[in-house]
């Protein structure tokens, strides 16, 4: 199932897009993914835990450390992905060294073999991305590109051109984590990216710093949808899959109205 065509179809039907993030390998993470799917998520981003997650704040760092301590490896996570049996597309979020160590082609085909539609590699900027994107294209894995508030317009054009699945419009200057309010950069950047994509181009989702249902609704006034990371994972760490389900349903309701 292609991530981009699925998201485009839902957007065409008037739906705002919701992509929760779940750290793979944490006890109960597979139930959390199923809970997201059952509670209104349009896709799920599965984080492959990494020892040095430079784009992540304390909550996702904690989740990654716990998953690694529980013995998680990317092959064991992909094994579980095969058994998830959810009806929405799945993406992985992975730091680049995981890809580099495995080898680009091997990693891309392992993702495809597990039924993963797309990959997000937050420490792989446009200039360094070719070895990966060539392999991903070859294996049929869509590479989501991140657009940052610091990017000049001409860079946004190149990022959008290379993006598959959706464009991840980074909501603020900073790492993942909950904030009291949606940063002003979130709407400013999403508008700039939308200007490049056009209204029926590749979907634009705001992620990083979208911290609750109200902020998600606010973000959806300019973007096609949102990625929710730390707010989901805090509930996962504190309450488990049921707490995740309740939260995803709450966000879905807020962006539907």
């Amino acid at each position: 199932m292609s991530l981009e065509s699925s998201l485009r179809a839902k957007r065409a039907a008037g739906r705002k897009l919701l992509v929760p993030y779940v750290t793979g390998g944490l006890p109960g993470w597979d139930d959390a993914v199923r809970a997201c799917a059952a509670s209104g998520a349009d896709a799920v981003e599965i984080g492959l835990p990494f020892s040095d997650p430079v784009m992540d704040g304390p909550v996702i760092q904690e989740a990654s450390e716990r998953a690694l301590r529980a013995g998680a490896t990317y092959p064991s996570i992909l094994d579980s992905v095969r058994r998830l049996d959810v009806a929405i597309p799945l993406a992985v979020m992975t730091y680049y060294n995981t890809v580099h160590r495995a080898g680009h082609r091997r990693f891309a085909s392992e993702l495809a073999g597990a039924g993963i539609a797309a990959a997000i590699v937050p420490d792989l900027p446009l200039e360094e991305s070719a070895p990966w994107t060539e392999s991903a294209d070859w294996a049929g894995v869509e590479t989501v590109m991140l657009a940052a508030p610091t990017a000049p317009d001409e860079r946004l054009v190149r990022i959008v051109a290379r993006a598959r699945g959706f464009v991840y419009s980074v909501g603020l200057l900073g790492v993942t984590g909950e904030r009291d309010s949606l940063a002003s950069t979130a709407a400013t950047l999403a508008r700039r990216v939308k200007t490049v994509t056009g209204s029926d181009g590749i979907p634009v989702l705001i992620g990083v710093g979208v911290s609750n249902a109200a902020q998600a609704a606010e973000a959806c006034t300019v973007a096609d949808g949102v990625v929710q990371g730390a707010s989901v994972m805090r509930r996962m760490l504190d309450g488990g899959p049921d707490a995740v389900a309740a939260y995803v349903a709450e966000v879905r309701a807020a962006i539907a109205s």
Binding site: D52, Y74, E127, T150, G174, V175
Partner: protein, 385 residues
């Protein structure tokens, strides 16, 4: 053509280096590269930097001959005395350069990572001198074993934050400094402390430390009328080593970078990508970065600067390792025989010479004594008492 020329357009030394940073930081790295290129070509900047190194950092640093230890080992042993620089190590060379550059770029704040605290102290010092705000990230383990340096940084007006994630040492301090930079990229310059990180850092930091090699080359010409047979330095990220290597890389000297046994990136690592660069990295089969383990906080790092990976892969430099035990012995030997207490980092280079001298009788060996041991005295007191 020198072997240690500018990296490629994409910041590569051979197949190592590059710029693997989150999108947010790409424009900042580009801006820094442009600013450094312009400053480095500007005689005014060079003069300003040279003046600061001379009148503030105390350069040039001298070369001392170790007759007692040298005689015992059967080699001619010379030390490049970076330990005598202001703030006690080579780190000041780079920091003065970056602080001047940050001012030139209109930045008002520095962030830095530190292991042993020497780069943190140097950054705090330069920030005080040049009127910049400064925040230093330091692993919680290192905050404990380098308590004096933490207090020094605070005395100098910097904020020090202990990092509790991961292995709670240097690699995690780098992560946290990068996270800070991502969040504050407008007014903040990331004052990286070694020849590592994304392009242009490995190149820029090398250029700021080239002064060590340039001076040492000229000093050896006077003293030996020749280059030394062997040039030795300890390697954490590799800045003091690259600095002294730069003076000798195009000649006949054997170049030796000494890693700690518990942090042997070149010796035990495979190519990997972390902290913005592709370089040798201690990692497991799935690419998880392994925790380094060394008695010396400044070398407790699982990676290494990309130019060292390049020099290793083309066979121009070699990267053996020494054990903590050998380091403790070398630390005491230099103190007792020469009246010089070295930094634990620098003691790695001495330890290698002590172990290998028998295989190079009569050789002239130049060691970069990257720092002094004051900061390590409390730790050694606990260990040896």
């Amino acid at each position: 053509m020198t072997l240690m020329a500018e990296p490629s357009d994409t910041g590569r030394f051979g197949e190592f280096g590059g710029r693997y940073v989150p999108e947010t930081l790409v424009p900042a790295c580009q801006e820094l590269e442009t600013a450094f290129r312009q400053a480095w070509a500007d005689p005014g900047f060079r003069t300003e930097l040279g003046d600061a190194l001379r009148t503030f950092a105390g350069r040039p640093s001298m070369i001392s001959e170790c007759r007692n230890l040298g005689d015992r080992l059967g080699v001619r042993l010379l030390l490049k005395r970076e330990d005598l620089n202001h703030t006690g190590s080579h780190k000041i060379n780079n920091v003065v350069g970056q602080a001047l550059l940050a001012k030139r770029m209109g930045k008002t704040r520095l962030v830095a990572e530190t292991g042993a605290g020497q780069h943190g102290v140097a950054s705090a010092t330069a920030a005080a001198l040049f009127g910049l705000e400064c925040k230093v990230y330091m692993g919680a383990v290192d905050v404990e074993r380098q308590a004096l340096n933490v207090f020094r940084m605070r005395l100098l007006g910097s904020e020090v934050e202990a990092v509790h994630s991961g292995s709670r040492t240097l690699k995690d301090a780098v992560n946290e400094a990068m996270r800070d930079w991502v969040a504050n990229v407008g007014a903040t310059h990331y004052c990286l402390g070694s020849v590592m990180g994304p392009h242009p850092y490995p190149w820029m930091v090398r250029e700021f430390h080239r002064v060590i090699g340039d001076e040492a080359y000229a000093q050896c010409q006077v003293l030996l009328d020749d280059v030394p047979d062997v040039v030795v330095a300890c390697v954490g990220g590799g800045s003091n080593a690259i600095g002294i290597f730069s003076g000798f890389v195009d000649g006949r000297s054997r170049l030796v970078g000494v890693e700690p046994a518990g942090g042997a990136a070149v010796g035990r690592g495979q190519p990997g990508v972390v902290h913005g660069m592709r370089s040798y990295l201690m990692q497991d089969e799935f690419g998880q970065v392994l925790e380094a383990e060394s008695i010396s906080a400044g070398l407790d790092y699982p990676g290494v600067g990309p130019e060292h990976s390049h020099l290793a892969s083309i066979g121009r430099a070699e990267y053996p390792s020494v054990t903590d035990g050998e380091v403790v012995e070398a630390f005491q030997a230099l103190a007792r025989s020469e009246g010089i207490i070295p930094a634990l980092e620098s003691a790695h280079a001495i330890a290698w010479v002590m172990r290998e001298a028998h295989a190079m009788p009569g050789a002239t060996v130049l060691v970069n004594l990257s720092g002094r041991g004051d900061k390590d005295v409390a730790q050694m007191m606990d260990l040896l008492a």
